[in-house]
Point group: C4
Chain length 229, copies 4
Amino acid sequence: MNLRDIACRSNLALAESGLVFGTFGNLSIVDRAAGVFAIKPSGVPYAELTPDKIVVVSLESGAPVEGALRPSSDTPTHLELYRAFDCGAIVHTHSEYATMFAQARTPIGCMGTTHADYFRGDIPVTRAMTALEVGADYEANTGKVIVETFRTAALSAEEVPAVLVANHAPFAWGPDAAKAIENARILEFVARMDWRARLVAPNAPRPDQFLIDTHYFRKHGTSAYYGQK
Amino acid sequence: MNLRDIACRSNLALAESGLVFGTFGNLSIVDRAAGVFAIKPSGVPYAELTPDKIVVVSLESGAPVEGALRPSSDTPTHLELYRAFDCGAIVHTHSEYATMFAQARTPIGCMGTTHADYFRGDIPVTRAMTALEVGADYEANTGKVIVETFRTAALSAEEVPAVLVANHAPFAWGPDAAKAIENARILEFVARMDWRARLVAPNAPRPDQFLIDTHYFRKHGTSAYYGQK
Amino acid sequence: MNLRDIACRSNLALAESGLVFGTFGNLSIVDRAAGVFAIKPSGVPYAELTPDKIVVVSLESGAPVEGALRPSSDTPTHLELYRAFDCGAIVHTHSEYATMFAQARTPIGCMGTTHADYFRGDIPVTRAMTALEVGADYEANTGKVIVETFRTAALSAEEVPAVLVANHAPFAWGPDAAKAIENARILEFVARMDWRARLVAPNAPRPDQFLIDTHYFRKHGTSAYYGQK
Amino acid sequence: MNLRDIACRSNLALAESGLVFGTFGNLSIVDRAAGVFAIKPSGVPYAELTPDKIVVVSLESGAPVEGALRPSSDTPTHLELYRAFDCGAIVHTHSEYATMFAQARTPIGCMGTTHADYFRGDIPVTRAMTALEVGADYEANTGKVIVETFRTAALSAEEVPAVLVANHAPFAWGPDAAKAIENARILEFVARMDWRARLVAPNAPRPDQFLIDTHYFRKHGTSAYYGQK
């Protein structure tokens, strides 16, 4: 399967995940050797998506190099993230609870092992973008403010593969499309739980970092012991 | 397809949208050239709806001109809206979260880009209706209080194509039936998010107007660049 | 169809309504001319329910007169309600939001027209039952405390066809099984909306009684004008 | 059917219950006469689960005695519970509301008869585990802290067949796999109701112990009178 086939199939998998509403949301995958990434076309309903409608974009120039349709309007955001983060696929959704946290300008707190199995800490929220950043190159600047968020807080994009863009919505990523979708699904799942816990127990103690690390590294890295070898 | 066929099919699409509960809800579409609109009959279960049961009503007199059944009891509300607003279709539902905001007498706040992609600002709530307004011509007066709400606040019915009637439920509209249903669905979606954000972060800063406008005009008007040309 | 057939079919309709969880819940219908009511047997999964398993109970003695199985353990509650209220069918569920209001000892407020279309006022909660009432004839006493609630507050069981038993769950009723189930469904629907409105706007003004009455009587009584003649 | 067949079928039933998200969750059943229990392998998707993939573990040594795959990483927790509690099956899930209560470090309160029909009191939360307990033999220590919770509070594991592990998730158990799953389902159901009741009525009076006992013993023990003999 070539890149556009995988991108098409993965965008359809995203649509089936329940994370996207209407035409909100898109997924891209990168082929770093070829210097390109493949992304959903803008505003095309998932039901009508076929591999030939997928747009291939140059990592260097940001310009489409394959496909007749316009790429997702969020393409420049994906481009900035691929340039800054070492990931293989990026998912953008307006999934309900994660988007709501973005609107509430509130990080999704790492309050338990479900979260720590996937993310080694809170999911950060970007700062609000300025009038200048929104006024021109808005989508590229969205990517830049995400990267700034990780740099400023010294966060690892590998250990925390998701972000909330203030008053907008989440982006999640991973080594491949399946992992990026899984991260987006878990993000929504832990967002639901953190929201409810905050309402009923706003002063609940946070889990110890050693509990978070034990769970994170039970599933990630060289000493992982979850699953089959 | 004639007006009654489209109205029937669109009412069934509304029923499948998950926005209506039981027989609550109705949809109408207007043919301004012909001076009529077509609307669901009153209290007929969606499962039994056929084009011949759709009622056609005169925009001038408000009287049925085609169809043997009684039109929706909300027909006079639709009539007032068609007379005041330049729209092609109107949807009335008791969708859960939007109706709840109507009961809470609380506008649905424009707290993010999901909302701004469809509505250029908060969804307003009408004032409570008086005993006189409720006591006679109740449904026509419901339409009038909606129009008053937009006039008083100098809102554009095109830019904010939805309203909450106090202690009642939402109405949404659009250039055609599909867009009106889509607006009603997004209304419910953003209502869910705003409700949750208000609970967890009652003092969250609102998004800047330039962010709202960028998203609204990315999808509407002559400089829109979302989707395919 | 005889009484047991209708009771079986109606219990299955209740199971499909999404209001019952596991074996929680039961429905009965009365034949006042025959002096009996038919009710679900105790603890039988809905999937295994057949008309011959339905139990017919005497309105006078409260004893089973037809059927080999034990009737629902809530049978004495149904009996008390049939004796006191002029209704044709009774539904008991542990539907989530209504049961939660019963646990919260909080009436479901009539906050809008959706509620008023079915119930002419708040859904009351019984007082807590005493040790004596719980210690013997518990289920009959449950019915008695419901009747007491309506008598004490001078409520009409016809106009408010539902109640919350404190720390237990709702009962709803109606002229026939379909209406009783519909009332139970609307009860759950308005419970969800009232719960959410209370959280976001605890001080929201209540709707005027004339609005409630207009909606209630639009659908009930001799001046009703909703639906087809 | 042998133990691995039942364990496989029961894990699939658990997957269909809606309580597990992704590969979170596992179920084991014990054969005390044979001195073994059968448990889900680690990280295997439910869709790929077959009886030969189930791992059989010795109650005495805790070591696998049958099956080529690694057992669930939570196996030592199950082992501790089988050693301390007289139960036939154990279910671990990350079901949303119960897990959220674990993150909120808040017991699920016994606020009504739905809860009391299955659990004779609140569902306790363990204390947080120490760095030492998490650092080595983490999963066995999870079991030990559960047992400690029951011992310290003098709770009966038979009367309260579930627990919340702080910042982790619930475990539930029962005399057999079907009952353990049912307990896990009711746990989630009452968690949803208690969470909502706490938000809307934080000071609601708790039900009297005699009401709880009447319901609990209506379904359990020698004087039970619910269901068919």
